[in-house]
Symmetry: C2
Subunit: 168 residues, 2 copies
């Protein structure tokens, strides 16, 4: 299983890029898993009071519901990214795309909004490429760059670039 | 990891019993996982349009979100009960309580509503005990029985009975 992170500050375009990549990879036969860090806002919104949510509230460590081809699990346990990656490893996926967890040491695409964000490129480990909606900013860089204003037409090139940087 | 199913037809009291058992076990130091079969109503309700729901819609095989001590995963894959059990085995739980999947061969508590439901006791594999809100019905049976009208006071006895039937 190959791993690639999409990292960057809030409003740098991570959510849109994740969905475009997941869609492109899935359509071209690459089986994708995705993992998103909920960020600094606390716990994820688990939605309305389903039975499995109630099980978690009653004290279950893990609760799940399965119906036809969809299963949903909620886990009340501290897990670091390596443990989460290990969990994804037990599923038949070719590529795990991770949104956030930017300080982690997996290969990553860094999204920058402005000149101040450029510091991330040197601060973060294993930067494969840089994306931005600010085309002028990208011109100054000597790493592979992707103009986020030209998504989706840039998606195939970025996707192939990610797959070429294989760390499987 | 010990496994116990709570089986029975609709409106036999499964949901209430599951929550009472999860709560009792959790409070007494038994680490519980729960799994519910969504039944014949199709796919589980995944709630509102979160990012991880969007990832699944974009084609991801598995999508997840993690924040603080809570993680949530959605899986778009056909899994049978044995594969689901194997997944739970990778988490630190002592007991997996399964609601539904009544024809499966794990040890189970069968809940009966009326005389017609009694056929389940012979039809289903590995019945440990029978519960009902119909006390008169239980008097005729020669298996361990639990009066669901006397939940929660009956919960400790049922819980200890389940733990005593260990299949770990």
């Amino acid at each position: 299983m190959q791993i690639c992170q999409i990292a960057g500050y809030k409003n740098s375009g991570k959510t849109t890029l994740m969905n475009q990549l997941i869609q492109y990879f899935s359509e071209t036969g690459v089986r994708v898993g995705s993992l998103k860090h909920h960020g600094h806002g606390g716990e994820p919104d688990l939605g309305k009071q389903t039975d499995s949510r109630q099980h978690l509230d009653s004290g279950a460590v893990i609760s799940g519901v399965q119906g036809e081809t969809i299963s949903q699990f909620m886990l009340h346990q501290q897990l670091d990214l390596d443990e989460l990656v290990q969990l994804y490893n037990s599923f038949p996926i070719d590529l795990l795309l991770i949104e956030g967890f930017k300080k982690s040491a997996y290969p990553k695409i860094v999204l920058v909004r402005n000149r101040e964000d450029l510091a991330l490129i040197n601060e973060l480990p294993d930067v494969l490429a840089v994306g931005s909606r600010n085309a002028a900013l990208l011109e100054e860089l000597n790493v592979p760059v992707f103009n986020l204003n030209r998504i989706p037409e840039n998606i195939p090139r970025l996707a192939e670039y990610i797959r070429g940087c294989s760390n499987e």
